[in-house]
């Protein structure tokens, strides 16, 4: 292992009402892939922002090659050798690869205001190839996959000769194949003696690619351990501060009445001829690869997108759902996969967010019944253990797990019978995941119907009573929890085009 090139010493950072980083220290060596893991709200994002100069630490210092540095902002940090690939990519889709790579740092021709495109093109090809990506520099980025776009982001940091590259949940929106490519790219970077901080929620990835893993909890450093000495159980125990018997507290109940039946549902180009039935008291899992049409299917069932053919029956009756309001009237709830884009009003209070779907019911005469609304919201905060200073706090200031609980609270308030949970634990920490699973348990215990769309196979296997697999817009298999074939092999086979 190489020299220590980067060191954080006793970094402390305060935010309104919380200590985001509490006396945090750790070291990074050249050529090391350093996993950084912790629950949401553990302080990972703040740490990244301190490392990239977005936030200035209130106490402590950052050492680079042994001497203290301060970063004025992301650009300054990049110039000093710290690059970052954010979860949300900063690619301008209308521009080509060269423009995206050199954006803000164009190479000019000598003694001329004109740009030197031939040199930039040459460099683009060179850097992209060094990262294992063979791509035409003139290609418009909107035509490239997310994986290649991410490689362009990595290339930006290489262009600035970064010694340390931070990758914030780099695999969260990648397909399996793209993840493999990213891993190969990371190995190439390692060979160039570049250090990498790899932030992830996926334990398998940490074990696959990292040399060392640092666990954070409540803004504090918990442990730094070579991965070869680490076990999954210990990692989880470090993260949540207690040992967990089981990541999936699954409880099974008797199957109840038929709640949702779908016959011949088709939306051209999205999904075709879908038939299934969902019952009370069970969790019906929908598995498949990203892009298999699962989200599209349930958006259509919920009335968000039009249906071309087929019928949706709710409790045996043709439901004729034309928009989300109809769906809610049929007591269907839809927890979107896009929490920030579609689930929450980030700049609005918890109170207004959790009462949004029931706003027409909480009225007294012409006016809103604020007592009733507060009572509901207080009950949500208490039952779902939402960590917040009060109901007036804006939803956008909460951690991912707490934000998700706010959205769940909104739907629990509608007293729905059918709960469609689309990627309910995406981007939330292990502790909050378990709480979401417990909510699913209490819903099925109360005889409600839960449909869970998930791309995480362990979650599908851990929580579903029955699993339906989709591939390219069609259902390719179904398997019951009691079946011998209820395992990842069968489901993966169906997802990749085989039969169960």
């Amino acid at each position: 292992m190489g020299e220590i090139i980067f060191e954080l010493k006793n970094i402390t950072k305060y935010f309104p009402g919380v200590i985001a980083l509490d006396d945090m220290s750790f070291q990074i060596r050249a050529g090391e892939v350093h996993g950084l893991i912790g629950e949401n709200g553990a302080g990972k994002s703040t740490l990244i922002k301190v490392l990239t100069g977005v936030h200035k630490p209130d106490k402590g210092k950052i050492l680079m090659d042994g001497s203290e540095v301060t970063f004025q902002g992301p650009v300054n940090a990049l110039q000093k050798g710290v690059g970052c690939v954010y979860q949300e990519l900063n690619i301008v889709p209308q521009l080509n690869v060269i423009d995206n790579l050199f954006i803000g740092h164009y190479i000019q021709q000598k003694k001329s205001p004109l740009l030197n495109y031939s040199e930039m093109k040459h460099k683009t090809r060179e850097i992209m190839e060094s990262l294992g990506a063979d791509v035409d520099p003139m290609r418009e980025c909107s035509t490239l996959g997310i994986g290649v776009q991410q490689t362009i982001e990595i290339a930006k940091t290489i262009l600035h000769k970064s010694k340390l590259i931070i990758m914030d949940e780099p695999t969260s929106s990648l397909s399996e194949k793209e993840v493999k490519q990213l891993m190969a790219t990371i190995r190439l970077l390692k060979e160039q003696n570049i250090a990498i901080i790899f932030v992830s929620h996926k334990l398998e990835e940490i074990f696959e690619i990292c040399d060392v893993v640092t666990v954070m909890r409540d803004g504090k450093h918990v442990s730094t351990t070579p991965v070869v000495e680490m076990t999954k159980d210990k990692l989880i125990a470090d993260m949540v501060g207690r040992s967990l018997e089981n990541l999936f507290p699954k409880k099974s109940f008797d199957r109840g009445e038929e709640y949702l039946r779908v016959e011949g549902l088709t939306s051209i180009g999205k999904f075709k001829d879908i038939h299934f039935t969902a019952y009370g008291g069970e969790v019906l899992g929908f598995s498949g690869l990203v892009g298999a049409g699962r989200t599209e299917l349930f958006r259509a069932i919920f009335g968000m997108d039009p249906i071309d053919k087929g019928t949706v029956y709710v409790r045996g009756k043709d439901a004729q759902i034309k928009n989300p309001a109809n769906a809610i009237d049929h007591r269907i709830a839809f927890l979107t996969e896009d929490r920030k884009g579609e689930g929450l009003i980030l700049d609005d209070t918890i109170l207004n967010n959790v009462t949004l779907a029931t706003i027409d019911k909480d009225v007294k005469g012409f006016l809103l019944d604020s007592e009733k609304r507060k009572e509901k919201a207080n009950r949500n905060v208490k039952e779902l253990k939402i960590k917040t200073p009060g109901l007036d706090t804006n939803a956008g200031t909460l951690s991912g797990g707490n934000q998700q609980k706010v959205v769940i609270g909104k739907w629990l308030n509608t007293d729905a019978n059918i709960y469609i949970f689309d990627e309910p634990t995406r981007g939330i920490d292990v502790g909050a995941k378990i709480e979401v699973y417990n909510i699913m348990n209490s819903l099925t215990e109360a005889g409600k119907c839960v449909i869970m769309v998930s791309s995480e196979l362990p979650e599908i296997l851990g929580m579903s009573d029955r699993v339906i697999v989709m591939r390219e817009g069609r259902i390719t298999g179904e398997v019951d929890r009691k079946s011998m074939k209820f395992n990842s092999e069968s489901i993966m086979k169906a997802a990749w085009g085989g039969t169960i």
Binding site: P16, A325, I345, I359, D360, K410
Partner: protein, 337 residues
């Protein structure tokens, strides 16, 4: 620090944030009082200000509802003009003298044009209200000129002019009826926006349209409502306008849209939607009126007035930006202690 104390401090800070624009207005008035040698505060000048404010204020209240949804209505001034022009045509061409019919005709015209603004978004799916209302701005203004033959129409019966001209006398001081109307209406709008389901839905729509739609809110209905209600408010402002000039002028309120937008923005409304208050808007409208009035008293030309109002818009928003970043910093430091 206990949470109780933090909560109380947060409330105080919120209050301070709300009172900021009011304080700016008061400072501005003191400055004007000093620089005009007290003429600004003369009884009849104050009455004048109160008489000039309602047109901007009423238009701004309609504009606010639109801006709260993240939209904009560039047709405000044109809708005002077409509403009173139509009322003029009812009088002149059709000989209608019944004041109820005339007032009703004026308000209905504004409301219907507003509805069309909304329909262009919900039915024609135009990409942004900037486009639909820019089109409407030209169409409505052209119609106003066309139906009136580009001439002002006078001779309305007194009850039609009442809203614009009637003053309530209190000794030497006279309070224009139109200003009282503004206060009453603004109070009703305040209750509507903050205490009714539809009002909250308008804020929700502006905060995150997709989240609102997913929560079962009829987002098209919200859009139709705000543009229609705005059209009604513009027509109402038109009645005040017609009353004050004793005639329907097709070229009325050429820059009314921009004044209304400015009032909302000075009052703290966000162009992104979801943020803004009716009282802030009232202060914004007063600010614009007071500056115009003060400039007139000081004998400044209209060119200069325009420059000053432009500068105030930029300064007001800059102060708001600086204030919120300072507040965030103060909170961080308070925690660090």
């Amino acid at each position: 620090m206990s949470t109780e104390v933090i909560k109380r401090e947060n409330k105080l800070k919120k209050l301070a944030g709300k009172l900021g624009p009011l304080l700016a207005l008061v400072v501005l008035m003191i400055l004007l009082a000093l620089s005009t040698g007290g003429r600004f505060l003369a009884v009849n000048n104050i009455s004048n200000v109160l008489r000039q404010a309602p047109i901007v204020a009423l238009m701004a209240s309609g504009m606010l509802m639109v801006i709260l949804t993240g939209g904009i209505d560039l047709s405000a001034g044109s809708l005002l003009a077409v509403s009173i022009s139509f009322m003029g045509v009812m009088l002149k061409t059709f000989g209608i003298t019944n004041p109820v019919l005339l007032i009703g005709g004026c308000l209905l015209t504004g409301t219907l044009f507003g509805l069309v603004n909304g329909l262009m978004l919900t039915q024609l799916h135009l990409p942004h209200p900037f486009i639909s209302t820019l089109g409407m701005k030209n169409i409505a203004r052209g119609l106003a000129l066309l139906i009136t033959g580009a001439a002002a129409i006078a001779g309305f019966p007194a009850p039609v002019l009442f809203i614009g001209v009637f003053d309530i006398k209190l000794g030497k001081f006279s309070i224009p009826f139109s200003f009282i109307l503004v206060i009453v209406l603004f109070f009703l709008i305040f209750i509507f926006l903050t205490r009714t389901a539809l009002g909250r839905k308008i804020y929700s729509f502006g905060g995150n349209r997709e989240a609102a739609r997913l929560a079962g809110i009829n987002v098209n209905g919200i859009q139709l409502f705000v543009y229609t209600a705005a059209g009604f408010m513009f027509a109402l402002a038109g009645l005040v306008y017609a009353g004050r000039l004793n005639s329907a002028v097709p070229l009325a309120s050429l820059e009314g849209d921009l004044d209304a937008i400015a009032a909302c923005i000075i009052g703290g409304a966000s162009f992104n939607g979801g943020k803004g208050s009716i009282w802030g808007t009232l202060i914004g409208a007063m600010m614009i009126t007071v500056i115009r009035n003060g400039c007139n008293l000081l004998g400044l030309s209209s060119d200069l007035q325009q420059i000053i109002i432009g500068a105030i818009i930029v300064v007001a928003v800059t102060i708001d930006v600086v204030r919120s970043s300072l507040q965030a910093r103060a909170k961080r430091l308070a925690v660090a202690q």
